[in-house]
Amino acid sequence: AQSVAQPEDQVNVAEGNPLTVKCTYSVSGNPYLFWYVQYPNRGLQFLLKYITGDNLVKGSYGFEAEFNKSQTSFHLKKPSALVSDSALYFCAVSPPRDRGSTLGRLYFGRGTQLTVWP
């Protein structure tokens, strides 16, 4: 069974400090990994993805994430947090796409509320 764990319900950091939001997963094969952000009263916005290749991927708004296959982790990071980064962050995975198949659903973690204080 596919599953995603975000062990922290909340992460609090001071503006200007680095931030990390943790994600581990359990998916067969080599999964596709994603991070999404949700601001209040909004849908989910795509931040970044890991499909293959370099383990460090960069995304929108200065965020990056590191894929670690041995630890089955995909932690979201940012070197210097901004107050405007405060939002709900979701890690998501999907199994690898079989040749000729249609892309399927994503499996989401429960979300981590990030608060950056001034």
Partner: protein
């Protein structure tokens, strides 16, 4: 990328009534996904909608409660039937594109009173 227009953005409904949520995509897609996000919780998949066939429902969700239409490759509706306060949630439609990530509508915030 895909742009999804979802409406209504929010509604307050009386228990026992039904609400139909619409999603329009700016490109043709094979599958559309309907998720529910209950307060303070993650996204739970309700069903997958394919054009020209019955939707596939996840465990715990049934067609009588959440009927779905998929008349063409750019449009789908989800109806929440015979609503109760437990149905108060955010409902999201989603598609996946050639770049592999998912795109989401802005969500429908439903409150049942």
């Amino acid at each position: 990328s895909a742009v999804i227009s979802q409406k209504p953005s929010r509604d307050i409904c009386q228990r026992g009534t039904s609400l139909t949520i619409q999603c329009q995509v700016d490109s043709q897609v094979t599958m559309m996904f309907w998720y529910r996000q209950q307060p303070g919780q993650s996204l739970t998949l309700i069903a997958t909608a394919n054009q020209g066939s019955e939707a596939t429902y996840e465990s715990g969700f049934v067609i009588d409660k959440f009927p779905i239409s998929r008349p063409n490759l750019t449009f789908s509706t989800l109806t929440v039937s015979n609503m109760s306060p437990e149905d108060s949630s955010i409902y999201l439609c989603s598609v996946r594109g050639g770049t592999l990530e998912a795109f989401f509508g802005q969500g429908t915030r439903l409150t049942v009173v």
